[in-house]
Symmetry: C2
Subunit: 235 residues, 2 copies
């Protein structure tokens, strides 16, 4: 009987290929099979990050995800899990690439949920864009007794306001078309002057813009607002 | 005139040396001077993590911090900043090692605050123990619209209960002698059965224990409780 392959969930960081860990690099360059999320038009941020480390002898599985956000991704993950299973069954290890950190809003968890009960699985943590953004903006975000909140901008206005009313330090993620709503709430809560904006942190197209000068229509999904702890002024 | 050296805040991750990024590894192995926090008895987790990558020709600056937690660390950071300054002034680059992520409750921010205005400074993000713990415990922590809260156990009981009463997913850090208080609150809020405990994540002494079987007196500072999102059951 063939021994089964091992499944890796590989955190590959926010964009800069040098932010892969030594461990992710070792696994990425030695597994026979690599899978990664890909949009229907064939674009894959994960593959772009890892491109320099992928060899021509490695098998690639693009995991296509629907372009239309109204459409459920679940059948797409079913299909990807099936493809990955074929390789694991014949004893080939498979590394599933995941931008940022796999277990924190990561796409890998949908594969994890489908396959970790059936195959030996290891998750390799990666640098999340949240952490990378504080470094790129050059501001300490929390210290001592500060609470850090990570809040998706996709919440509705009431919930967003409730959550933002009680924060010490906060990172608001998944801005995209929700930017105008978030900006309005921050303004009402008197938080706007403390808010820092960054998009595509550590990617070659990284952009840091004063939040008051930002055109709401030009804000991508891969962007975030960071409000550092009040106390960081008093370090 | 001599060109000034560059200051690096180097995130070196939670414990496993293989969780250094390629970038941190490159800088660590090429700078002439390395500084790291050290307790008064000479122990340094940061140096232990980086040990295999430090060469005999590199200058080391142990930054001593007080053993007694009642004593202010600030004079100690003053002294360390002064030592680091001497090297930067004569054009030597200095890497300050920092466990986990430098900008998230990291010791580096005290050096950053003292020196980043005077010398060219770059922060290299690292894997925080918070992220590594979700991978080691093998549980996705947040997805979609979940809010993630990171809460220090050092908060007083009233504040802790208020914060914990409204969370989706939470990581409670800096447990140590605050464990019994946290456990009591989680029990009262009906959260105890969802709580996972891990200490020294990714270090060789890593330990995962059922939270109900844990002796409060044996909980170290480098430990945390993770409560994953409710929704992760329904992925």
């Amino acid at each position: 009987m063939t021994e089964l392959g091992k499944l890796y969930g590989l955190g590959i960081g926010p964009g800069d290929p040098e932010l892969l860990t030594l461990k992710a690099h070792r696994i990425l360059t030695t597994v026979p099979v690599i899978a990664y999320p890909t949009s229907e038009n064939g674009k894959s941020l994960a593959r772009a990050i890892a491109a320099d480390f992928i060899g021509s002898d490695q098998i690639e599985i693009p995991m296509y995800l629907p372009f239309n956000i109204q459409e459920s991704s679940q059948p797409y993950y079913d299909q990807a899990a099936q493809q990955i299973t074929q390789h694991l069954k014949i004893g080939q290890d498979v590394a599933v690439l995941c931008e940022g950190e796999p277990m924190l809003y990561g796409s890998f968890m949908y594969i994890f949920q489908r396959l970790s009960g059936k195959f030996s699985t290891e998750v390799v943590p990666g640098i999340s864009s949240i952490m990378a953004s504080t470094a790129m903006l050059g501001v300490p975000i929390t210290y001592r007794n500060d609470v850090l909140s990570v809040i998706p901008a996709t919440l509705d206005e009431v919930k967003l306001r409730d959550r933002l009313a009680v924060v010490d330090a906060v990172v608001i993620i998944k801005l995209g078309r929700h930017f105008a709503k978030v900006r309005k709430i921050l303004d009402e809560l008197g938080l706007l002057h403390r808010a820092l904006y960054i998009e595509r942190a550590t990617q070659t197209e990284q952009r840091i813009v004063n939040i008051t000068e930002l055109e709401p229509t030009e804000v991508p999904y891969w962007s975030l607002i960071l409000i550092p702890s009040h106390f960081s002024d008093q370090l």
